[in-house]
Symmetry: C3
Subunit: 147 residues, 3 copies
């Protein structure tokens, strides 16, 4: 049994919702770890982004954008906006919706690994969702516990 913890870096290039398929990078780390059976945890250490799974394609990303707008709307007057203000001068802390979306979708996903392969369906991708409203660089953790 071993524990292998690696990092991968993602960059949010847009000032809006960003959904990235990170399955290829996660798979690369799993190959490097040489662990063949166990649990893979993909985790984002921040409070305005999430990790989940989806069938990542252009249409589903558009549908998800509308769904997240319904879940935690951009134009709601979040308490967060009143006290945190615009500390970066770029609208950085008018991101009340980003905090809500992150807590509801959660910071991590766990995927079983068997015989060196993640047990994802072929139409199922591990995605990084960044809900913040400014450009960000993020560090995603991939940890494998197994043998």
């Amino acid at each position: 049994m071993a524990v292998k913890t690696a990092e991968l870096y993602v960059e949010k290039p847009v000032q809006d919702l960003y959904i990235l398929n990170i399955t290829p990078q996660v798979k690369k780390h799993i190959k490097t770890s040489r662990i063949r059976n166990g649990i893979a945890t993909v985790f984002i250490g921040c409070s305005t982004a999430s990790i989940t799974t989806m069938n990542h394609n252009e249409e589903n990303v558009k549908s998800m954008k509308a769904a997240l707008e319904h879940l935690a709307p951009s134009d709601y007057d979040y308490e967060h906006h009143k006290t945190c203000g615009d500390i970066y001068g770029v609208g950085g802390d008018n991101n009340g919706k980003s905090h809500i979306r992150s807590s509801i979708l959660g910071p991590s996903v766990t995927v079983p690994l068997r015989n060196g392969k993640l047990l994802l369906d072929k139409g199922q991708d591990i995605v990084f969702m960044d809900f913040d409203i400014i450009r960000r660089k993020r560090k995603v953790i991939v940890q494998i516990v197994g043998e």
Copy 2:
């Protein structure tokens, strides 16, 4: 320490939301694994279903149906419907809502195991939720990492 990975099969008999209590099957796999302390991951490899916990009874299933309709409505004009079309001739890809619900609720749940028992409350069940709109057969993964 050991890793045990098993499969269980579930069938969605209805052309609508299906919520099944899979706790008995999960417990059976745990008993077979002979692992007594560790982490149990229950995972569904698909992008239109989820695994979570709930107090599974008729009333809560009805409430959940209404809540999911509120979260990602059936009658919304998802982008997904425009390009994917009805490829199966059975309404199979008019399932934009199914993809959204699956990403928000997530594909897996992790439950600690101690002295051979899942640390679930007596009114807390592990449930498989299938959001798709056609009949499906699904494979659920139960993985235990422990000793």
Copy 3:
């Protein structure tokens, strides 16, 4: 490799949504476990509460309260209310919303541990959310699998 499972107790003092930052207690258990690398699972064994992460401060708690009211409103006529009734004489089972919120946010969060530290961001806290509508005492499980 080892498995360490500990309990921490939380008390919901209010008859309404309660969100508590439990990061300090989780960190204490991790220190006691002497495990330095592995996966930490924080799990709540009940069907009307959840564990997730958030930047825990007064404003975000207020925003979350509004968001959860939008996700599963208090004033909806849940099926659960019709059959379960008010068994405690304190409105105890008029908690249809609590069950819904718990299933959507989920019972657990998994956080990677490296060199003895949880890989949380400094503005990211592990939170216990109790959605029930009566005062409750709850047991939260902290399990660490690693070396």
